[in-house]
């Protein structure tokens, strides 16, 4: 576009200003204009309400989905309990009924029966009152999905060697890794 000197454009601007000065302003609004505005407001109000309703519905649906997922996750361990309470109670009841001989050899015998370990060594240091249990695998009878076997083992230890001053139990798995040390 060809550029004209600024003063020429200013002159045109002044011409425009003077011409547009005469551009008429309506003395009053056209008939029905106000009603038209009111109608548009009503339509927009409805649209807004509809939009809010849609948003609220979507929010409720999303909240519902989120909540149900949360509950599913929260309830999942309860739905498939790895160690049902009844099973734990049964173990405790059996343990309570069991009588343990007062001598150490008898205690060791009962201990090994309860835990059902196949490959293990159990030694009792009389001077230190220290019991050392080394197994090449987790005790067979105490294995469960929830890894409660450590607690069970502790219970068996308490039952058999309650009078010992200090008990040390070392469980070693097949790879020689220390699983746990219970005192």
């Amino acid at each position: 576009m060809e550029h004209k000197p600024t003063d020429e454009l200013e002159q045109l601007g002044e011409q425009l200003r003077s011409k547009l000065f005469g551009y008429p302003v309506l003395e009053s609004l056209p008939a029905g204009f106000m009603e038209g505005v009111r109608q548009k407001i009503r339509i927009r109000q409805r649209q807004r309400l509809h939009r809010w309703a849609v948003l609220a519905s979507a929010a409720v649906i999303l909240l519902g989905i989120g909540l149900s997922r949360h509950l599913m996750v929260k309830n999942a361990p309860e739905a498939i309990p790895p160690q049902p309470q009844a099973q734990i109670n049964e173990f405790d009841a059996n343990l309570a009924r069991m009588s343990v001989p007062p001598d150490t050899d008898g205690k060791i015998k009962v201990f090994s029966q309860i835990i059902g370990a196949q490959n293990f060594t159990l030694s009792f240091n009389r001077t230190k009152d220290e019991l050392t249990f080394v197994a090449s695998d987790k005790p067979a009878k105490l294995i469960d999905k929830n890894n409660h076997w450590e607690a069970k083992l502790q219970k068996v230890l308490d039952k058999c060697f309650l009078d010992a001053k200090e008990l040390t139990c070392i469980v070693v798995d097949g790879r020689g890794k220390n699983w746990s040390i219970l005192e």
């Binding site: 200003r17 547009l20 551009y23 302003v25 309506l26 009053s28 609004l29 505005v37």
Partner: protein
Amino acid sequence: MNEKELVSRLRAKEEQAFEELVQSYGPRLLRGARLLTGQSQLAEVLVSDAFAEAFFALPRYRAEAPLFNWLYGIMLNQFRYHCRKHKHFINLESVADSLEAKETPVDDSDMLKRLPDCIGKLSPEHSSVIVLKYLEGKTTEEIADILAIPSGTVKSRVHNALEFLRKTMNQMNLLPNSATD
């Protein structure tokens, strides 16, 4: 009419106040919209849309800006939205070149009638600044505030729009010195 009082009544959701707002500013907004669009009916649609928009936007109105400027800004937004929706994109060069020159010069009243045609050929951004500056007599700063653009942009848009109008109006023999140009 006290503008502050009107604004406080509007904020109190007084129905009568809104009607006063429309009655007071509607005619001037319609004049601007008619010049921008060149059509009375479309102008009415744009201005009524602007008032409906303003009704919901009132809580966001900054009292330091004049109410009329604020309403004008909304109306111009509606205008730009309408142009975008209807793909009102115009290449200034091509339109100016395609216009055929009139053989007989037109008089003042004819020029006034044909000005909307010329302004309507501008892009919405350029026609908005022309209407605000030369019809409404707004300053560069006021235009910048209404359109939410920098003052420098306003000046360059005014300059480019005048260049285009000069060429268009010359070709339509709407300027006194058209013959010599």
